[in-house]
Subunit: 168 residues, 8 copies
């Protein structure tokens, strides 16, 4: 089993945030790997990883980082694969990492999701892989259809709340 | 020729910003379509477009919008395809549209690029399609390799600037 | 008893914030309903709700959402009724949801109140209904007159604080 | 003919922004008045205006102000009528006036629209009046239906743009 | 003993923040009064207070408020006395109240201090009164001279911290 | 004639902004002086100025500066006189200078006015001097009363604008 | 042993943040001193310190301050030595101190590090001293090489996390 | 003549901003070089440059970049030399590049100057080199002393402005 998605985080302290991504890929049976690499502390390893990812069979890279979050952009500059950036909230409410990831110069995009939104990063990765994989395409659709069930259940809970002038 | 990428913008006034995306797709010979649809003014058309995009053979949707930019998220909620969001700068330096696009709730990601960064949106679309298309994969790599030529040329210009204590 | 006000929230986790709205409407004896609907997870239900609200007798819709808060705007695009938006604080101190609700494009207004300000949303709804309902108009005035009593009571508390050079 | 909507602006320099509101009300044949009153320079006049508005037959007040924009909130504190606030962009990209209008304390709502969004303020006023006036309700619906025509026309323009790989 | 300084706060919940102001005035033996008045809930009382403050012998008014903080500006519009504004942190880190107080239009200044900086408001009040009162002028100077003692004492504490390469 | 107010600006490029302050003091016949001193480029001169201001008869200091605006705070730390700070807009829409002036530590207040609000600084200076000077107190009241005339005149202009459904 | 680095903080409450700087210098055996001096409360001491630092053999000054953080800039204006500024997070998420330190006017730079980033300030100081000190240059290189070990160790931890579809 | 300072910019469009740095180094007779290198478009060249800078005799690196400005941090991660970062204003008033440069993770500092503040970067570089070079140390002091002359000259200009109540 070779991984299709590679999750990279700048620090292991980001693992609690990134767990939701791992769980989603596991649920959709998409093989993945998780590693910690720092754009600033292990630049050589980041380069080696980025240059080899495609030939190792990786399809999509999810890179998470906080503060002056360079990791997603640095990886994106050294691979033709799509890179999804997850801004980690570590300071300034996460605004610094969001801007440091999304505001990439022309030529080197990073597909950015919301602050700490690792689940959305994993869904996006699945959507990209689904473009060429019918089984995963089916799983993505099933997942999306399931989203409304939570809301339906939620509504049932709200129905139990009573006020004198509340209807229904 | 059926389009693989669909560019949707909230208003035709966004066309000057989105032109760079169209040019890039044209250059890479990726068939695309461009339309204006508004999440708020033509919700029925947005729904119809979103629900049919996959069956029409579209692979990736690029959606651009300004201010309280709902278009990318609304489309993303009604299609299993990956949606790339381009925040248009129309007010507050574009910060409002960036946040309204990137801060999606869990379950419905939008792959967000920088403010007005339509070129990056198109590159990202090509990278996604390249996952299952070797010809486009080759074009993406060639484009990425070409990026450094501009910098090399730039350096030659800088070399011509002279100061007494400037070396080289 | 048919509801005049419909409170919609993007997630049941917003209920603690929205409770103040429900209590106010109950106090003023304005029939209302509460439901959870997500612009992104249940778009079809949101559309059905929005298109039918007026014919069901609803006069005003209060829609609460956090982050990239599209719910109020999406509803507003599909109903002629006035829609009041409540930005929920879920990230970035609530600034993202505030901007995603208030910065609507020309043609589709959302009457936005402050971050987490569900009470103010309910008062605003009552003020709107009061335009055509004398009983509710009376209740609104009575409520507004009562506001100053809290301040008067507060002043009495402050009067008990003593400092050597404090007068009164 | 007695005015149903009263437009108040903090300074006549706001008139170019507020003109869109006047034109909309004119188009929908809703009688209105326009005046300049300053919360800070003419507090007595603001009070007199606010206390008498309802008895003069005014249904909705639209108040526009920039910077530390107190006018909408001050009026709202002295009338039971719904007050719509329009933040004027005069400094800090309009963020100061937006916050000074929307972040009202519990008990005194201001229905806030986007920065410089006077057209949306007028539409909202019409929507409120429409709750008790079938003719205006009809006009509002007609206006909303017309919004999509602009987008349709826009699409026709986009269809004329040609690229080699553009489809349609 | 007639008060020279009047401290007004928008809500008694601001008292813990404003206590430092009261203590400072007490320490400098400057007679003062404290009251809660709301620009929005008790506009008539605010007007009466503002119009009478000067004739009651008040020299300086300190007004504290949070969120869309109108109280200082509203008072300033109805008195010739200098008004010191204290932005209270209640939402958005206090940025909303800071902007709503400091960004006053031309003609109606509010002397604004930092977020929650009630001590500085009281010192400023003392400095103003000191312009015409030699005894208070002496106290202000004495207070200012005392500020450096805390730093000197702090330094003594730091001197006790030992590191191998720490000198002194 | 000895100056009562001293206007200090960090750079002569601030003079166009500060001119409104000079004109106001001139109009109220309050003797003043204007100088350029930089907290960073001429620290010795700033100290000499600050330490001597009171003994030279100065009552209030108005200090204007942009960016990391230290001038008002540095002066305030070396004089018992009240210091009014004017944030100059030179970068970041003036937000940097506003925060660098207003967010002073406990013990050293700066009475801050709005961004570029030099007129308000001068009015505030006059209000402070008026506490001990009946002639200036009279001028301040007269000035404040005059503010509403502009609004009245403005209203007359608005009255001339005609729309079919505009009343009055 | 004479100190090469002088750490100055605006308040002893900053010591917990600055401890990391002291520890780093200790580890690299770079003699240093720590003192508390306030730009506003002890301006004379700050001046004396700044003017004498170079002749006492100090090579680099690290100055930490919060809010309207003037200390680093004031010191920089009175010494030819490089000054490193550490913005302390005390309000507004530290954005105020960051801007008040980094946005210095032309002519007086402060080498600014991240919010609360005292370790980075110490590393920067070591890098500067290393320019003329081979032993310290060696220590800096060794420290930088060591950074990647933490990431390697982190990766080993991540390797232990198991999911069904996790590879490696 | 070997360069002591290396100025790197992410794009030649930054040259107008960086010219002030070149001029200052020229004026102080500090040999320097200028090149354009992009962290994202020429990562291999950036690495080669960073790894060799020290052995080529470079003492300090000045790196300028805009938007998601990774260049200074990426260089800092691959050299033991001090790196000075200049945030270029290209979007969001330069706030994005400021945060992307200054908010570096622990271990890899970048000495950040203000937005577009290339002159300050050059002065800082000179100050660092001056630590081990008496001639440059002398030049730095002379430059700093010269700063106050501009202010003195500025004051002479202000002295020519006349108002009736202006003194001096």
């Amino acid at each position: 089993m070779k991984p299709l998605v590679s999750i990279i985080m700048g620090s292991t302290s980001d693992m609690p945030v990134m767990e939701a991504a791992a769980k989603f890929l596991d649920e959709l049976e998409i093989p993945f790997e998780i590693n910690a690499l720092s754009a600033h502390r292990t630049p050589a390893e980041v380069e080696q990883f980025s240059r080899n990812a495609e030939s190792r069979g990786i399809k999509v890279i999810i890179a998470a980082a906080g503060m002056a979050a360079h990791l997603p952009g640095v990886i994106a500059s050294m691979t033709p694969l799509p890179v999804i950036g997850v801004p980690i909230k570590a300071s300034l409410e996460g605004l610094d990492s969001l801007l440091a990831i999304v505001q990439m110069p022309p030529g080197i995009p990073v597909a950015t999701v919301g602050i700490n939104a690792s689940l959305n990063a994993a869904i996006l990765a699945a959507q990209m892989i689904a473009l060429g994989d019918k089984k995963i395409a089916g799983s993505v659709k099933k997942y999306k259809d399931g989203l409304k069930k939570k809301i339906v259940a939620a509504n049932e809970e709200l129905a139990k709340i009573t006020f004198q002038y509340k209807v229904g």
